[in-house]
C-alpha cells in the first residue's frame, strides 16, 4: 500500500511518515499544496492524508482540483475542529476527517478502513482457502498456526489478496509497494514472491507470464 502524506510541518510530516512506514506502508510526502496535488494526481496512491493549512495551495483547493477525476480516498487532517469545518471537508469530497492533535492508532485505523472500503471489502480479515490475513494486526495464519512474514512479504501478499482473482502487473506492484525513497532492485519482487510461496505453499501466488501476479480465488 502506498500513501501520500501532504503536511507542511516538517516535524509532523517526518513523524507520520515514519509511523506509516513502520506499519508497512510505502509513504511519499509533500510539504505544500502544489507538490501535494502534483503527486496525488500521479495516480499511484491507495490513500492520501491531506493537511488543510498548507502553503501555496490549501488542502480544500488541492482536494477540489483532485476531484472528480482522482478517486483516491482522502483523509483530511486539520487543526480546525468546528462542525462547519468538518461538514465542509466531507462535502468537498474528503472521505474522512481527523483533527489535530489526533491519536496515531485512530489515524492508522481510519486509513485502513478507507483503503478497505475503496477496495470493496467489508471486513478487515481476508480469507483465501485456509489462509487468513488479519489486516489490522498484519498477521497471516493457516490451519497450522501463524506464519511469520517480513513486512515486505506481508504487504505484497496483502496487496494481491485484496485484489484476489485479478492479475496485478509488476509495474503496479512496484508503484504501490515501494515509495520514491525506496531504491530496492526490481528483482527483489521475485525474491519476496518465492519467499511467500515457500512459507504458504507454491500455489498461493500464481505467475502469469507477461502479465503479472495473481492470488487465485480457488
Amino acid at each position: 500500500m502506498r500513501i501520500l502524506l501532504v503536511e507542511d510541518d516538517p516535524a509532523l510530516r517526518r513523524s507520520l511518515a515514519a509511523t506509516f512506514r513502520e506499519e508497512g506502508y510505502a509513504v511519499d510526502t509533500a510539504g505544500d499544496g502544489e507538490e501535494g496535488l502534483a503527486k496525488a494526481n500521479g495516480g499511484v496512491y491507495d490513500a492520501v492524508v491531506l493537511d488543510v493549512m498548507l502553503p501555496l495551495m490549501n488542502g480544500w483547493e488541492v482536494l477540489e482540483r483532485m476531484r472528480p477525476d482522482n478517486r483516491v480516498p482522502v483523509l483530511m487532517l486539520t487543526a480546525r475542529d468546528t462542525v462547519p469545518d468538518r461538514v465542509k471537508g466531507l462535502d468537498n469530497g474528503a472521505d474522512d476527517y481527523l483533527t489535530k492533535p489526533f491519536d496515531v492508532d485512530e489515524l492508522l485505523a481510519r486509513v485502513r478502513a478507507l483503503i478497505r472500503r475503496s477496495e470493496g471489502l467489508s471486513h478487515p480479515d481476508i480469507v483465501i482457502r485456509d489462509i487468513r490475513i488479519d489486516t489490522v494486526r498484519r498477521r497471516v495464519s493457516t490451519g497450522e498456526g501463524e506464519i511469520q512474514l517480513t513486512p515486505m512479504e506481508y504487504s505484497l501478499l496483502e496487496y494481491l489478496a485484496i485484489r484476489k482473482g485479478s492479475v496485478v502487473s509488476r509495474t503496479t506492484l512496484y508503484e504501490r509497494l515501494f515509495d520514491e525513497s525506496d531504491d530496492s532492485c526490481s528483482n527483489l519482487l521475485d525474491v519476496h514472491v518465492s519467499n511467500i510461496r515457500r512459507k504458504l505453499g507454491a500455489d498461493v501466488i500464481t505467475t502469469r507470464r507477461g502479465h503479472g501476479y495473481c492470488v487465485e480465488v480457488e
Binding site: 507542511d8 510541518d9 513523524s15 509511523t19 502553503p55 492533535p101 496515531v104
Partner: protein, 479 residues
C-alpha cells in the same frame, strides 16, 4: 429594557404630553373665545343702556323744563334742573312706561336715589332697593356694572344724586351659557380627534424605531451579518440606523478578528501538540533503538519549545492588552536598550553575514524598558531575518530626539515589503512569506506584539519601503 407597564413606552409618553398640551391649548382658546363673545355682548347691551339713559334724561329734562317754566323759575343747567325736580318730588315717570316697563327679557328700568341712598324716583319695574357702589362722599361717578341679571349704568351727579339705568341681560346670559356649552362640546370633540391623530402619528413615528430595535436585538443575539435597513431619506432615524450599522460593522470586524486570532492560535498550538502525540505514540507502539528514541525526543523537544515560544508570545500580547489599563512607566535609557538588543542579536547577524550599524546619542524616554527592548529586538531581528539570503548586508539602527518625541529607526537594505503584504504585516499571525513553514519559529506575532507595545506607550510604529532598497521601520515614543 422591558417594562411590564405599557405607559412607560415612548408612544404612551408622547400621547400623554400631546393630550396635556392639546387640552391646555383648546381650553385657552375656548376661554378666549368665550370672553371675547361676552365682551362683545356687554358692549352691545351697554350701547342700548346708554341710548335708553339718554332718552330718559332728555325726556326728564324736557318734562322738567316744562314744569319749571310754568312756575317761571328761569333756565338752569340740566343736572341742577333734574336735582331740583327730584327734591320737589315731581313725578316725571309719565310717558316712559313704553321704554321702562314690563318684566320681559331685555326690559329696562331706571331709578334715582338721593345722596343718602333713598329711592326718589323709579320706573315701575325697577327693584325695590339698590346697592350703591362705595366710591366716597362726593364727586362725579360714572360706571357700568353687572348686578344680578341686570347690566346697570350708575352715575352720580355733582350734587350727589344717583341715577341708575339697568337692562335685564338674562337673555344674553342664557345665550352665553349655550355658547359655553357648545364651546366645551366642540373643544372636547376636537381634543378627541387630536388624541386619535396623535396616537396614529406616534405609532407611525415609533414603528421604524421598533423595527430598528428588533433588527438590532436579532443582530445582538446571533446574526452579526445582518444590518438595519436604511430608508435613504436621510432623516434622524436613517442617521441612527447608519450609526448603528457602523457600530455593528466594527463589532463584526472585531469579532471576526478575535475568531481568526483564536483559530490561528489554536492552529499554531495544535500542530506542535500533534507532533508530540504522534511521535510519542509512534515510539511506544513498538520497540525502537536508542538512537531512534533519542531522535524522537529531539523532535518532541523542538515541538515543546515551539509551544513555549508561542505561549510566551501570546502571554506578552495578552499582557499588552492588559497594560492598556495599568501601564509601566519609568525612565528608559534608550541607548542602553538598543545596545542590549543588538548584543542579543549579534550572533544571528554574524551568521547571516549582516553588519549592524548603530547611530544615536544618549537619550531617555518614559516607558517600559522590557517592552521597548522587545520592540527593538523584533525590528532588528526581522531586518536580519528577512534579508535576502546570505549575501550579507547592513542593518542601520538610529535613535534621536524629535521634538516631544524620540524616534528609533531600523533600516535594512533587504528586499523590502511587497505591496500585497503591506496592509497586513501588523496583523496577528500574518506571515509575509507564505511558503515559510510555521516550524521556523516565527508565528507572525512579532510585529503585532511590537505595535501593541508601542501603542500602549502612546507612540506610533510604521514603516516605509526605501526608495532604492530595503525598508525602514520607525518607532516614535513620547519622551
Amino acid at each position: 429594557m422591558k417594562s411590564g407597564f405599557p405607559f412607560h413606552s415612548i408612544r404612551w409618553r408622547i400621547q400623554v404630553w400631546h393630550a396635556v398640551i392639546l387640552l391646555v391649548a383648546i381650553i385657552a382658546f375656548c376661554i378666549t373665545a368665550y370672553r371675547l363673545a361676552w365682551i362683545h355682548q356687554l358692549r352691545r347691551v351697554d350701547r342700548v343702556v346708554v341710548e335708553r339713559e339718554r332718552a330718559l334724561i332728555s325726556h326728564l329734562i324736557h318734562t322738567g323744563r316744562k314744569v319749571l317754566s310754568d312756575e317761571g323759575s328761569g333756565s338752569r343747567p340740566p343736572h341742577v334742573t333734574l336735582d331740583l325736580l327730584l327734591e320737589r318730588g315731581v313725578d316725571l315717570s309719565e310717558g316712559l312706561s313704553d321704554v321702562f316697563g314690563g318684566q320681559d327679557t331685555g326690559h329696562s328700568f331706571f331709578m334715582f336715589l338721593d345722596p343718602a341712598g333713598a329711592v326718589r324716583m323709579r320706573s315701575p319695574n325697577a327693584p325695590m332697593s339698590m346697592l350703591l357702589p362705595d366710591v366716597g362722599e362726593s364727586g362725579m361717578v360714572e360706571l357700568s356694572r353687572i348686578s344680578g341679571s341686570y347690566r346697570e349704568s350708575v352715575r352720580r351727579s355733582p350734587s350727589g344724586v344717583w341715577s341708575v339705568v339697568g337692562r335685564d341681560i338674562s337673555g344674553e346670559i342664557e345665550e352665553m351659557r349655550h355658547f359655553a356649552l357648545s364651546l366645551t362640546a366642540s373643544g372636547f370633540a376636537l381634543w378627541l380627534v387630536g388624541l386619535t391623530g396623535g396616537w396614529w402619528i406616534a405609532g407611525r413615528v415609533i414603528r421604524p424605531i421598533q423595527t430598528i430595535g428588533r433588527t438590532a436585538s436579532r443582530i445582538a443575539a446571533d446574526n452579526l451579518r445582518e444590518r438595519i435597513e436604511v430608508a435613504g431619506i436621510g432623516n434622524e432615524l436613517d442617521q441612527l440606523s447608519g450609526v448603528l450599522n457602523q457600530t455593528f460593522d466594527r463589532l463584526q470586524a472585531a469579532f471576526e478578528r478575535q475568531k481568526q486570532f483564536t483559530a490561528d492560535a489554536s492552529h499554531e498550538l495544535r500542530n506542535p501538540i500533534a507532533v508530540v502525540v504522534a511521535e510519542t505514540q509512534r515510539i511506544l507502539r513498538r520497540d525502537h533503538s536508542v538512537s531512534e528514541c533519542r531522535e524522537a525526543l529531539q523532535v518532541c523537544q523542538d515541538a515543546a519549545l515551539r509551544m513555549k515560544n508561542l505561549t510566551e508570545a501570546l502571554l506578552v500580547l495578552a499582557r499588552q492588552d492588559d497594560q492598556e489599563r495599568t501601564p509601566v512607566r519609568e525612565t528608559v535609557d534608550l541607548d542602553a536598550v538598543v545596545n542590549a538588543s543588538v548584543a542579543r542579536l549579534r550572533k544571528d547577524a554574524e551568521q547571516a553575514g549582516i553588519r549592524i550599524e548603530l547611530n544615536g546619542i544618549p537619550i531617555t524616554c518614559s516607558g517600559d524598558p522590557v517592552g521597548i527592548g522587545m520592540v527593538v529586538d523584533n525590528l532588528v531581528g526581522n531586518a536580519i531575518h528577512h534579508h535576502s539570503g546570505g549575501s550579507g548586508g547592513t542593518v542601520r539602527v538610529s535613535w534621536n530626539p524629535d521634538g516631544e518625541w524620540v524616534q528609533v529607526a531600523v533600516e535594512d537594505d533587504g528586499p523590502g515589503i511587497p505591496e500585497a503584504d503591506a496592509p497586513h504585516i501588523f496583523d496577528r499571525f500574518y506571515r509575509a512569506d507564505k511558503s515559510r513553514s510555521h516550524s521556523s519559529g516565527h508565528f507572525g506575532l512579532g510585529l503585532a506584539v511590537a505595535k501593541s507595545i508601542v501603542e500602549n506607550h502612546g507612540g506610533t510604529l510604521d514603516f516605509a519601503n526605501n526608495p532604492d532598497r530595503g525598508v525602514t521601520f520607525r518607532m516614535r515614543l513620547p519622551r
